[in-house]
């Protein structure tokens, strides 16, 4: 009985560690999909100053 109790405790501990590991996986994979939303503030060509417009500095939008 004691052995089964030890096994259960060990398995719970491993499950806990693996649960924490999922955060690490999420953090590690974050950089693969964070670029360039195409929604958001509409772009136009009137003083936006994106490089594709007037040659000015890139503004703070996340669009192209």
């Amino acid at each position: 009985m004691l052995i089964y109790a030890k096994r259960l405790a060990a398995m719970l501990a491993v499950a806990g560690l693996l649960g924490g590991g999922s955060t690490a996986v999420a953090l590690a994979s974050h950089h693969h999909h964070h670029h360039h939303t195409m929604s958001g503030i509409p772009q136009h060509n009137g003083g936006d100053h994106d490089s594709d417009n007037n040659g000015g500095p890139s503004d703070g939008d996340g669009n192209v």
């Binding site: 950089h31 490089s51 500095p57 703070g60």
Partner: protein, 203 residues
Amino acid sequence: MTTRRNSLTLAIPVALIALLTIAALALAAGGGSESKLHVARRPAAFAWLHPTVVPAGWRTLRLPGSAATVSAPASWEAARSDAGTKTLVSRGPSGQIVGYLNATPRQGNERAASWASFRVAHNRHEGDREVRRLAAARDLRFRSATGSCVMDSYLTSSGNRYREIACLVAGRSATTVIVAAAPPSRWHGERSLLQRAVSAFTT
């Protein structure tokens, strides 16, 4: 004897899994792409950043529907920019931009932890060339806000070089990007003013 063997049989894989998990956690915490690119928490390159009130005589523009404000000397002119954003520029005698400030609400995918790489990649994606990351930091203190900043330089597709400070700043009610830029040839003269504008930025 059987009990000892059973315990040993269980203990070895458990220990291995635990070690692998700890190693994975350590790698994720310290080995992410931003860490490899040396995003410092309090680097000397951003020692100038001290939250400050807007200097007397400056003008302030508030972003529509946002608490964010961007300020510049009264001589700077408001430039037309995307809806929901504000831009202030200073121009030279021939109309060229010598100082540039832009505030834009967060678009959705910008993240504090990855801001530096996001911004540099974004500039490249816009067609900028020779994009060079000069410095980056996160957990920087702004007025009632915290931000991640990057300093970089680039050559636009139309042949204009700029150096910029770009920060993603998270306040109580809004997360906003502030960009302060100037041509490298004017950076020395404009730097202090641009840094004050970033230090006075609110969101």
